[in-house]
Symmetry: C2
Subunit: 527 residues, 2 copies
């Protein structure tokens, strides 16, 4: 029997609040005791990744209580309910099945008369077969020439996740002989976005992937028209240059406007769709279906780890609970995500959507206002770049911002250079290690402007190399972290009603059906 | 006589604190009174840009008091002291002269025996002449072929600002016949960053701009070696493919390793260097010196507006004071920057550095801890993309995040499409207008999950088009805003001691001179 209770009604949460400021991080991380923490506070995720939380302001007693809270909040049971097909997205009355796009986690889930795991696997297979035909030159442009570029048209979850995943694997694919097509992305309704992409690609050899679950996303349909105009202006037939990724019930599903259509369904939220054919078509075209399959395997492996009932062996749950401690006990409103990997340059932007759209809510799953803070603001840039930018505030600002680092022992591209006795990769890794310690322990100086208080908590996910499997595991880790936090806060993490009002008002502006300040702004903007 | 006092010692600040939660934003912005606010609460910046703060939670009484506070904090006098050459960066004992890279604002500033405005102008001229020779084919590769790509090697201020400015004008330049060379950027010490750029450019026709003020930035020197190796491996002479941007006293200044050297000095902080030759060389090469000159003119025009003593006629000061009210009276720790312009996709990343590195500090300019919050966390992505991502939290999250929108009436690329009766540009503008009102006024609904409380404050900078002049004015607006806020908080906004400790520890890691937890992390990362 699952109980959906607010966080502040849970007994263990009251106990947890008494443990505020219990850990003195500079002391805890000093000397050999600090080294012992690094060894002890580490847990494998999957595919060679591990989550290390030594530099978080926790100790065994807090961890015990976080475990108690996780149990009281029934996180494992709720996760099982989700992957076994209960209606977790109550607001929209939908199942939540993105984990099933990469594997079966529990009982078969039958919905709309089909086995959902089989459905997602079949769509992945369709995408794979299509990609292989494109690569083999069996599907070509009208002149019989191979496609060289794939352009995804989509916004939000149809853009941020797939784009971040593409960038994450591009160097790896080039180095490992599986770089097939260059991918580009059009998302913004700003016409300059599409104009730029269209001006800088080889249009006759471009294949477009139109992604909209509903088939009604205004930005995406507008950009589709934009692209079709450009194709026609070059004497090209749009129907020979475009596929659709949509739901079976959408107007795009059976249109002869597309070379092919690939399906997801209402049980895959946009921000959780990178492992569905929303990511699958573009990534299979770019890197081959085998790479995409390896990516899914990594995600599935992390989903399995997330089933662990022992908090200390479940990195996604642990990450969630430590984040909750930081948000609801220590009171920190922001979390920085800092990957020491240029390939993950857009991963923070994806996490922004994943986390802030899922848990940036102030009513619980029953529509009742909650009286505690929920999802934090998420931001980040890759290191070492960020060190030369906003780290000043992270080190010496008046507010504490918890951090999540990501680092890999090996680079992707296999090129490096030795300067001053070390490789670039070693410098990169030395910097992330150094930052963790500088943030945790600080350093006193006679000049207060050069003093660092420390006590700024961070975790790090460490892997050998950012491979397709590791990327899949990394993605699923954060998805599951966000899911567990949503359960704790008693939110529906799978709807996004907060985006509706703006859409509605924009329509009124375009219909010139406005007055007051909205009319005044519209005039200023010459609409 | 200038007094450098902490914010909380100012009489008008005490009065201001009494005006917390005075404005009910949903009410203030409703009906025709809201329209009147939109008309009234607007001030020109320069070059057709205006700053509209109608949807900020201020009224005339608060504005009067903010004006009083600005006067008591002597913002105008401090700005004048800065551009007249007083030693404002006291920690590093340096003048602060970035405004002089674009024009003279006060008396001639003589330092190191030269007139500084003349020095910056001469360097700009040198860069212009060099760029023209490259464009004319007078400076070529060893084979006598024209360069087609310029690659900036730099990090932090040598990367974020110039990169953001390049992206901001690329479409505009293509449309207006002044796109000369494609620009690329290498910044991260992650070897995959340089590897990717080198794999995807036409190396024999690439010209590299090495940017390091000190000539000792580890990331940049490492990437220089990386690039030189790649050039030599192709049988190319690095000295024929590289220029340096540095200070006259740096080891790079007189090296025969470079085709030419261009100079800034210690009075230009990295994050303020886009209008020096740090931005000037790459932008003049990419778009021609005339475009760069127009960009400088826009920045200078905004610098002039920032001299206004009447707060209501000084948009940078007004933006600063409203931000201060939000940070120190209303208690908001984060600000979102949301440009409705794909060309400004990396502008928020530049502002992150500009703002967070300048004012993310907890000791005042005398090294004494301050007891009030200083610089906020800054993040943002272009709209409408963000609407499909993190806006959920901005609309319905438990915390209020003040916002700064930017919008333009016209696009840059001159391509558009009419769908459902409106152009993409109109849709873009309709969305930003709609968002401002949705955030300000919200909307009640019988379903609490579909209710919006409103009361989420925002401003918008509106322009006709993102031209070089408008971009310059936009950049200078934010630089001056950050400067004024730093004055109010009594900070030295022009040093960055917070980045030093991490560098120091990273060196120790690379020298294997570590123990305890730092050693343990180093081992995990296989350094």
């Amino acid at each position: 029997m699952i109980n959906w209770n607010n966080l502040d009604t849970l007994r263990s949460f009251s106990k947890l609040k008494a443990l505020k400021d219990r850990v003195n991080l500079p002391e805890a991380m000093a000397g050999e005791a600090g080294a012992a923490r690094v060894a002890k506070y580490s847990v494998p995720i999957a595919c060679g990744l591990s989550y290390n939380y030594a530099a978080k302001a926790v100790d065994d007693e807090i961890l015990d209580l976080l475990g108690e809270l996780a149990a009281e909040a029934q996180l494992t049971e709720k996760y099982a309910a989700l992957y076994n097909g209960e209606m977790i997205n109550t607001g929209e009355k939908r199942l939540v099945l993105h984990q099933l796009t990469r594997g079966q986690l529990g009982e078969p889930v039958i919905a709309d008369g089909v086995d959902k795991r089989a459905f997602y696997a079949a769509e992945q297979k369709k995408a794979a077969a299509f990609a292989e035909k494109v690569h083999a030159g069996e599907i070509t442009n009208a002149a019989g020439e191979k496609f060289t570029t794939v352009v995804q048209i989509g916004i939000g979850g149809s853009d941020l996740g797939p784009r971040a995943m593409y960038l994450a694997l591009e160097n790896w694919a080039r180095q490992n002989g599986c770089f097939k097509l260059e991918a580009r992305f059009i998302s913004n309704v700003d016409p300059d976005d599409a104009a730029y992409v269209l001006k800088t690609i080889d249009l006759p050899h471009a294949l477009f992937v139109l992604v909209s679950k509903s088939g009604t996303t205004l930005e995406t349909l507008t950009n589709e028209s934009f692209v079709k105009d450009a194709l026609r202006n070059k004497g090209l037939d749009p129907a020979k240059h475009m596929v659709a990724v949509t739901s079976e019930t959408s107007p795009l599903a059976k249109s002869s406007d597309y070379l092919a259509a690939f399906f997801m369904d209402d049980y895959i939220g946009g921000r959780y769709s990178s492992t569905s054919c929303v990511g699958g078509v573009v990534l299979s075209l770019a890197f081959g279906p085998e790479v995409f399959d390896r990516f899914l395997k990594g995600a599935h492996a992390a989903d399995l780890t997330a089933k662990e009932t022992d908090l200390r062996r479940n990195p996604a749950m642990l990450d969630a609970m430590i984040g909750l401690y930081e948000r609801n006990v220590l009171g920190y409103p922001v979390t920085a995500v800092l990957p020491y990997s240029q390939a993950l340059s857009r991963f923070p932007a994806h996490l922004q959507q994943l986390d802030m759209e899922s848990n940036g809510k102030h009513v619980n799953r029953f529509g009742e206002p909650v009286s505690y803070p929920t999802g934090p603001v998420i931001f980040g840039e890759p290191g070492t770049n960020g060190q030369h930018s906003f780290y000043q505030l992270l080190h010496q600002g008046t507010d504490v911002v918890p951090m999540q680092f990501v680092g890999f022992r090996e680079n992707q591209a296999g090129m490096d250079v030795v300067i001053q006795g070390s490789t670039s990769q070693q410098k990169l890794c030395a910097n992330v290690a150094a930052q963790i310690m500088a943030f945790a322990c600080g350093k006193q100086d006679a000049n207060p402007n050069k003093s660092f208080d420390g006590g700024r908590p961070s975790s790090i996910i460490i892997g050998k190399q950012l491979t397709p499997e590791a990327l899949g595991a990394l993605l699923a880790h954060f998805e599951n972290k966000v899911m567990f936090q949503g359960f704790c806060w008693n939110l529906n993490s799978f709807d996004q009603e907060g985006v509706q009002l703006g859409k509605l008002l924009a329509k009124r502006v375009l219909a010139h059906d406005t007055d007051g300040a909205l009319r005044a702004y519209s005039d200023l903007l010459a609409i």
